[in-house]
């Protein structure tokens, strides 16, 4: 809850202010196959939530805000990304 001092001054508040990480909405998650990534940056560019970080050779993923929309998977030209169900896939991941 906001402090009285903030409430007194009206609904004008410092931004950003994030109370939740929207990654909790996710039912599926993208996983990256580093071997396939050619660093084309499509995923980085097209991710609505800005979940990808550019690296020297490949991108990396921060899932805090990933809602599992799948755009990164659809836009990856080299199938370096795949969607897996949340909470059930560590083993399958390792298999790849």
């Amino acid at each position: 809850m906001l402090a009285e001092g903030d409430l007194r001054k009206g609904p004008n508040l410092a931004t950003p202010c994030l109370s939740t990480t929207t990654g909790s909405w996710r039912l599926v998650r993208p996983v990256l196959d580093p071997g396939r990534c050619h660093n084309c940056l499509n995923c980085w560019l097209f991710c609505p939530e800005g979940c990808f970080t550019r690296g020297e050779r490949i991108v990396s993923l921060n899932l805090d805000f990933c809602k599992g929309c799948g755009i990164c998977v659809a836009e990856c030209p080299r199938q370096a990304l795949a969607l897996v169900e949340e909470g059930s896939n560590d083993a399958r991941l390792l298999e790849r």
Binding site: E49, G50, E75
Partner: protein
């Protein structure tokens, strides 16, 4: 020309409550990569406002002034004048509204602000209906699209009127710069944002921003549909500059079916 690889890392909007795969928030995120931190956003009750500035989830890292639905561009004029008074130079004021807040209820204010020649950029993230209120048709809804106010039934066949020619309306103001864009063509889109920034006076960009729940398609198709809209000739990438209108040539036009078929809003149309 904007180089994608040279865009900055910093995310100026992050953590929004937008639907998974939202084309609108992607349009805004991309634009902010070019606009940069010296930007003030003015926006209006819409999906965007609801998902970025609803306490306790405030997703912008730049100042954001929320205003009533019809008045985005009028408030933009006020912010521009106020910053000028305060001697704050080099700060860009960007009006952001959906198609309703731009081509319908916001049209009068936008017309006024363009006609006054105020120095601002107005970005309409066009998802072709009133999505925030539950997918009612807008002046930007395309012919044939099903919405909750243009339902399909034994008589109704979806939207009965073609999409409003907003670019033509804006161009008729002799605006210094106006363009249509698509999030499926980021380099084109962001180059247009950059041009808009360089213009002295008003600039307008209408960026097609597919909406997974409103259009009825799986969220991963957002960018693909934004691309297909252009490739099938449904959404021309046009630019109005120095009084001239140019349209990007599409070399190999794809069949319209490719664009319509994945979308539930067109499901009633004959195959």
């Amino acid at each position: 020309m904007v180089k994608i690889k040279e865009l900055p890392d910093v995310e100026l909007v992050q953590g929004s409550y937008a639907c998974a795969g939202c084309g609108g928030i992607l349009a805004v995120r991309m634009a902010l990569k070019v606009l940069g931190p010296e930007t003030v956003i003015v926006t209006t009750p819409s999906c965007l406002l609801g998902v970025t500035t609803f306490y306790p989830q405030l997703a912008f890292k730049v100042p954001c002034v929320n205003v009533t639905f019809p008045s985005t561009a009028a408030a933009v004029s006020g912010v521009v004048a106020g910053l000028k008074c305060r001697g704050k130079k080099g700060v860009r004021v960007v009006g952001l509204a959906g198609d309703g807040g731009t081509v319908d209820i916001g049209l009068q204010a936008l017309s006024g602000a363009i006609e006054r020649g105020d120095n601002f950029i107005f970005i309409c993230y066009d998802n072709e209906a009133y999505m925030n209120t539950g997918v009612q048709r807008s002046g930007a809804t395309p012919l044939g699209a099903r919405t909750t106010t243009t339902p399909v039934g034994s008589v109704g066949r979806g939207e009965e009127r073609p999409k409003k020619d907003m670019l033509g309306i804006v161009a008729a103001h002799n605006i210094p710069y106006a363009a249509t864009a698509s999030i499926g063509y980021p380099q084109d889109y962001l180059t247009k944002v950059q041009k808009a920034m360089q213009v002295e006076g008003p600039a307008y960009i209408q960026v097609l921003s597919p909406c997974p729940p409103g259009w009825g398609y799986p969220s991963e198709l957002t960018v693909k549909l934004a691309r297909l809209a252009v490739q099938t000739g449904q959404w021309p990438l046009a630019e109005y500059e120095n009084g001239r209108l140019t349209v990007k040539e599409i070399a190999h036009r794809r069949p319209l079916r490719d664009y319509l078929a994945p979308q539930a809003r067109f499901a009633h149309l004959p195959g």
